[in-house]
Amino acid sequence: MIRTAAAILRKDLAIELRTKESVPAMTLFTVVVFVLFHFGLDRDSLDGELASGVLWVTLLLAAVIGVSRLFATEREQGGLDGLLLAPVDRTALWLAKATALFLYLTVLELVAVPAFAVLMLGPDLLPALPVLIPVLLLANVGLAAIGALVSALAVETRARELIVPLLLLPLVVPLLIASASVTEPVLRGSQQAEDLGRWLGLLSLYDVVFVLIAIAVFDFLLDD
């Protein structure tokens, strides 16, 4: 199964490297939203809860773009039928798509977080990194798991561009709560995060639950 997943993942990454469709669009989108927030809030620099709210909401909205494009090539070029005709485990397909989304999000954050620090953040970013990096990674795992599931749920519907954000955004509210709360003190410039363990625990719980659910139910999607 791992080998099948790796093959599908390689195919997806090759397509992404050639067409440069998802990640550049997501990155550009985050920068545009930062500029929008600058004018919308009329603030030159942010810190604390405002900074962490802007950062996380922007990242989640960018993730919506990634999720809605996740099965796009398969759908538009008819590759989905090929994948479904091939005798491969559906779970491998989910694993490949979730890993691809995880990598897209990670690359996006490599650009978006420094851009956020340059454009908007008042305090220095470097001391916040030891807290920010594990939170970003845990949030990416959860987003990737639920994102691949939502993308597959929406791919067969008529109004998929509509369904993806409507479905994904309420589902990631717990992720937003945990991530924004944990990054809020470090983005204010204080060294210590409050209740770090508890929030990381919630993020891990979220990740585990949705990875298990996605594995359990993904077989039933794309089944014909």
């Binding site: 519907t157 369904i163 409507l166 139910v217």
Partner: protein
Amino acid sequence: MYSKGLKPVSIATVVVVAIWLAMVFFYAPLDADQGFVQKIFYVHVPLAIVALCGFVAGGIFGLLHLRSRDRSYDMKSYVAIHMSIIFGCVVLITGAIWAKAAWGHWWVWDEPVLVSFLVVFLLYCVYYPLRFSIEDPDRQARYSSVFAIAAGAFVPINFAAVRMAESFTHPRVLSQTGGSMPGEMRLTFFVGILAVTLLFVTLWKFEMTSKNASMQLKRLRRRLEATA
């Protein structure tokens, strides 16, 4: 087949709902600091509990559908979620009225139960566009079940997360649902839960009967056209 037992259940529901309303107005004591307004509690909280249980029941029916491939489970899941959405609307409206009367605002963000309920409600509202934008009936049933299961599992996680977010500054606001309620209040509250559960089950059965009947009618009509 869903019409079986519909009459006794309906009668029981009418009786228990009448007892419940009578108890709310005449039996339960007035709250010391909120007065009459607090009586909305006996409507609001049972409705919320039953609606959440209905969402979870929708997930369980979805699971049964995926395991057995029996389409009737998908219909049960759909009707349960549909009823819960309707109950959920009433919960949000009564919650807003209660918040306005008790705290002076239509909406308060520091009440974790209300906020989690809103998030869950918003998620379940997507069930309709998702379900009805899939044409193939088999696929529609399967995708809806997958949604029902994922969303059903989301309900407890969301409640935990919102509660954690609030517990920094606020202790549990709704402590009156706990042990501190006097006996008459608690009795009224439990009768309320019973009444709303019965109401939910009766409405669910009615909807299932009607859906079943119209499906049967469609089948018969198709057969008639084939023979004619």
